[in-house]
């Protein structure tokens, strides 16, 4: 049996590990389509042949749920992530992220690289965090918004922007940037990656894969990428 998984592109590395492992274990076949969460959600709305959707964006999952496109009861939160403040250079001086943070001082003439602050989750969370810390208004004029987190990271990595706000998972792997602070969890809505089975596509393989995602092998793969796996009541272990 075949399972088609639509997954946010940021999960590529993890999915590249999980899918073959699942296939080996169960004999099912997994096809993973990686793209932006919004594109995937739209495709699902237009009848894409997806069995499972892992979104990096809660809002899109909510939309699908409202439209009745999810298999009832199949939605759960799979992963948690955090956003961090990064600076260019391998060993930048850490700062304390608090309302007292002197962002303009740190930025100087430079830019604060973020993902699109009204459209892309990482940007939305970053904006919310800065707002709750009372830093947004001073930061706003210096914010440079990229179309995704990876592009924001690249801006800092190349030194184009001295600072940036990205996911912890992205920051970890780049030698040209250092994490100089993590935004407090309560400064923004929880960053979760919801997963769900799609309505009308329920099948044994899909159910099995869903379970596998919550299982220990998958957990290892996700954690290796820096994600925090949200424990499921009643799932796997």
């Amino acid at each position: 049996e075949e399972v088609v998984v639509f997954a946010a592109a940021s999960l590529k590395t993890a999915m590249d590990e999980i899918a073959p492992a699942f296939e080996a274990q169960t004999g099912h076949e997994v096809t993973v389509s990686l793209a932006g969460s919004s594109a995937l959600a739209r495709q699902i709305e237009q009848g894409a042949p997806a069995d499972i959707f892992i979104s990096a964006n809660e809002a899109w999952m909510d939309t699908l749920e409202e439209d009745g496109l999810l298999a009832p009861g199949s939605r759960s939160d799979l992963l948690r992530n955090s956003i961090v403040l990064i600076a260019h250079g391998a060993d930048a001086v850490p700062v304390e992220i608090s309302p007292a943070l002197d962002l303009p001082g740190l930025l100087g003439e430079g830019r604060l690289a973020m993902a699109l602050v009204d459209a892309v989750p990482a940007g939305i969370y970053g904006k919310a965090a800065l707002e709750s810390l009372g830093l947004w208004d001073t930061a706003l004029p210096q914010v440079a918004q990229a179309d995704n987190v990876r592009a924001a990271l690249a801006l800092v990595s190349t030194g184009e922007a001295p600072l940036g706000i990205v996911y912890a998972t992205d920051a970890a792997a780049d030698d040209n940037v250092s994490v100089i602070g993590t935004f407090p969890e309560d400064s923004h809505p929880p960053i979760v990656y919801p997963v769900a089975e799609l309505a009308g596509r329920e099948g044994a393989a899909a159910v099995a894969f869903l379970a596998y995602l919550h299982g220990s092998e998958a957990r290892a793969a996700f954690e290796a990428q820096g994600f925090e796996v949200i424990s499921q009541p009643g799932a796997g272990d």
């Binding site: 592109a9 389509s33 739209r42 990876r150």
Partner: protein
């Protein structure tokens, strides 16, 4: 090449297939559109002209979105075509459609430019020798615009090889079905540490496109030599 995994090979093959068919099946309608724009007068000509350019003007994501809305399984055209067994949604055919549409304005412009450079006196001469409109086109116009067709095809093929936004928005990124080289490159770029893998694919993409380019140059030189008549 050992350093390409089987899935990546698949992407290379798929990209070639998609670009080839996108270009090839784009040529006849592009030729028709170019001919209409260059030679005919009809109401709505500027509308057609605008429509042809649309994929260039719109951000690719929008084009992809519009394709999804119209050619998707639930779209007005997609659902009809599905009846006759022509499915674009989430198939390589859809990738070819998207690439073809994105390449279309480039095909049309190159051909139109060549068409406008054809000396109408030669076509008239052919008519006096008994060739009907269609035959004039086939025996005189077409050979004379061959360089333009080749130029258009090259541009179109290159564009199709690089097309990403519309494709991934329309048919997603399904390995073996719709995962072209650019989609694969994009996916690599979305994860930490994927840059090297992405660059490898970029290199493959460039190599393939360059070969096509060299071939086209050679063809174009031959065609040009024919046309300049020496």
């Amino acid at each position: 090449m050992e350093w390409l995994g089987p899935e990546e090979w698949q992407a290379v093959r798929l990209s070639l297939r998609v670009s080839f068919w996108a270009t090839l099946s784009g040529l006849p309608p592009a030729l028709l559109a170019a001919y209409a724009l260059a030679r005919w007068r009809f109401p709505g000509k500027q509308l057609l002209n605008g429509l042809v350019h649309l994929p260039l003007i719109l951000p690719p994501v929008v084009t992809g979105y519009l394709l999804l809305l119209t050619f998707g399984t639930r779209g007005p055209i997609g659902s009809v075509l599905q009846e006759i067994g022509l499915v674009f949604a989430f198939r390589w055919t859809g990738a070819a459609l998207a690439a073809g549409i994105m390449a279309f304005p480039l095909l049309v412009r190159a051909m139109r430019l060549s068409l406008e450079a054809v000396d109408p006196k030669l076509e008239q001469a052919a008519a006096t020798l008994g060739a009907s409109r269609l035959w004039v086109f086939v025996t005189v116009t077409l050979p004379l615009i061959l360089p333009g067709i080749i130029a258009g095809a090259v541009l179109g093929f290159a564009k199709a090889m690089g097309e990403f936004g519309a494709t991934i928005t329309f048919v997603s990124n399904i390995p073996g079905q719709t995962q072209t080289l650019p989609s694969a490159i994009y996916a690599f770029l979305q994860v930490p540490g994927g840059e090297h893998a992405a660059l490898r694919l970029v290199a493959v993409s460039v190599a393939v496109a360059m070969s096509a380019l060299l071939l086209s140059e050679w063809l174009a030189r031959r065609a040009q030599r024919r046309v300049s008549g020496t």
